[in-house]
Symmetry: C2
Subunit: 397 residues, 2 copies
């Protein structure tokens, strides 16, 4: 009997031990400032990477349809919020490498943003149109903000959603030709400032790095719509009048995202739509200052954090190449062949390396920006977007 008690006590101790092991063994303590998330579109998974040691930390699965997925990070850079094409938001713990929560919040969605205080997640939806706000911790719904209707009477599809300072979000209404700014200081009762007549069919948008300006690309006409959020009374004005598909509609293999633009130094760098060119515009006057010929139709035009060089990837059939432009001389200084179907590029925070996703070679390619040499390749399943956790502290992401 005494022996049995001892054994029971021992079993209890072993049980406690196992629990403790389970609780504390798995993830080692580590900082989260150098983490990254890679979208693996075909398999509905993300890979978590360490951009200091250039290693993979693991894979998290079960995220649904990740074609056209995007990612924002929690304020502490521990969690990634992945917005899927199927309208789901998945919250991934980058330390434990688990899917913490997943909310199917719409049936068709195109990304989201996180508020400047890190407390609110905003999702921009196609079906049903509008914006929904969620608690960043629990993913509980806080508000459902319908968008103005399009000609079909249904709430407009929402595009270009970006966080602005002061717990605000800016976005454009594709079907209603409108730019809206939402103040989500009280996220259960958001207040929307509307700018109708903002140009025909805005298809994407981006905010400047300080969150002052919001730009929308237009599908239905040339030029871009610009809102100065410091002067909402001035309304939306048109800039870069020549920008767009042009009067004679050209074959455009892939409509470039505005998030593929760069606002760096004194310039905006942008892919010319349908042309084999990168445009450089003055980011004060929005006058075009240079046109740099490149080898194909540019998709992402990404400036190094220094603004000194700009990296460009291309639409099919040139999507196996990347070109590097030297900003002072405005000339291509290198053409790289990193892999098949280069879909995205992400720089380390201070630009010592760039990570490329090569979808059709199922790999990630890490290039040292000083030597332009590939320093590491990592296997990945049909990778598309690469997102690093330095985004947690930036605006307009």
């Amino acid at each position: 009997m005494a022996g049995l008690l001892v054994e029971t006590g021992r079993a209890a101790l072993i049980g406690s031990l196992s629990l403790l092991l389970a609780a504390c063994a798995a993830p080692a303590l580590r900082g989260t400032g150098d983490l990254g998330v890679v979208i693996e579109r075909a398999s509905g998974s993300v890979q978590v990477v360490d951009n200091t040691h250039q290693t993979s930390l693991g894979r998290v699965e079960g995220l649904g349809d990740l074609s056209h997925a995007s990612v924002v990070f929690s304020r502490d850079a521990r969690y990634a919020y992945v917005f899927g094409r199927d309208g789901a938001i998945s919250k991934v713990d980058l330390l434990r490498l688990i899917l913490v929560r997943r909310v199917a919040q719409a049936s068709n969605s195109i990304g989201g943003a996180i508020s400047s205080d890190g407390k609110v997640i905003a999702a921009q939806n196609y079906q049903p149109g509008g914006v929904r706000l969620f608690d960043a911790d629990s993913l509980a719904l806080l508000a459902d903000v319908p968008a103005a209707p399009g000609v079909n009477g249904k709430p407009s599809r929402v595009v270009g959603l970006a966080d602005l300072p002061g717990k605000r979000f800016a976005y454009a209404l594709f079907d209603a030709d409108e730019i809206d700014v939402m103040d989500a200081s009280d996220p259960a009762h958001p207040v929307v400032e509307r700018h109708p007549g903002a140009g025909k069919s805005p298809y994407d948008g981006l905010a400047s790095m300080d969150g002052r300006y919001f730009l929308a690309g237009l599908y239905g006409e040339d030029g871009l719509s610009l809102l100065d959020t410091w002067r909402p009374d001035l309304g939306v004005r048109r800039v870069l009048a020549g920008y767009g598909r042009g009067e004679q509609a050209m074959p455009v293999y892939k409509m470039p995202h505005l998030r593929g633009w760069s606002l760096a130094g004194d310039y905006a760098f942008l892919p010319a739509v349908g042309h084999h060119q990168v445009l450089m515009a003055d980011n004060r006057s929005w006058a075009q200052v240079a046109t740099v010929p490149v080898l194909g139709q540019p998709v992402f035009v990404m400036a190094e954090p220094s603004g000194r060089r700009v990296w460009v990837n291309f639409a099919f059939p040139d999507n196996d190449k990347v070109q590097v432009i030297d900003v002072p001389t405005r000339a291509v200084i290198a053409t790289l062949h990193p892999g098949k179907a280069i879909l995205h590029m992400e720089f380390t925070p201070r630009g010592d390396a760039v990570w490329l996703s090569s979808r059709d070679d199922d790999k990630l390619v890490v290039i040292d920006t000083a030597s332009l040499k590939t320093v590491r390749e990592l296997p990945a399943r049909s990778p598309s977007g690469v997102f690093f956790s330095w985004r947690a502290g930036r605006m307009g992401m």
Copy 2:
């Protein structure tokens, strides 16, 4: 005997349990994107804070003389490197709240920086003059780079050290009137590009947010020295000719640090030396565009990350006040009295709050930037500098 064995086994189990508890109990898993370090100058300690929950996580002691201390963060935002006035570098683990390493590397020092790849720590020294490079992991000495000598024949004191992209550092030589740019790609054999004749007695320096420009303040003459690191062939030029102590030396209670400047949006905001004014300059032409009257001699002039407002603290006897300037109207919109001897200010990454150190009230004050209300006060021992971990991903810190 069997009972004894059982007891021994049990004791061993309990021992293992205790070890495990010790190993895994202390620090919980957490992200490091929202951490901060507060210098407690009188007690040689730092307080580690969480800027999301506005709480103190603990104190780390034994850091020596922390008057005029500064902090940089490791690339993963887990470690803080604290540069003391006594020439020591202390590496603090923000998760375990312990002093990991401490190196007394000079007898008199004034700060440091971390290379763009996070691998090299650079310390700028007064005694002996020059720059020393250390391995960011081990703090082992990598290189000792002497500075050009001053008139006394000794290596110059080094000021204004800032990281530039491409594993470079820029700094100024107070005793040798020189600006240097060091390439530390091979940190055991750094290469120095020298710009002599850079103005009389540069006393501080700063780099633009993209690491392109380096500016040095001059103690011995009016104006500032500007180096465009994209065009080193053009050498150093003088800008803001009227800036400085003026021809008639005025009483200056505290020579403002250039790190108290802000380069935000299209403007540089800077404290007028000896005047009750904040100057606004165009950051392309360096022409002064406005003078904003304030209530005392400004020390730190810090723009919110949005660039929309600028916060100003003051030299004695006005160091119990803080003023807030609205940038579009160029007018003071608020005067706050947060506490005695406000020495420093630090914004959360996207500017929803600002933390102030009140040295003589032994407290930290957290102010909501939307309402300008104090939302939290935390006790601290004679706090001075406040540094948040978002700096890990930025240049020129």
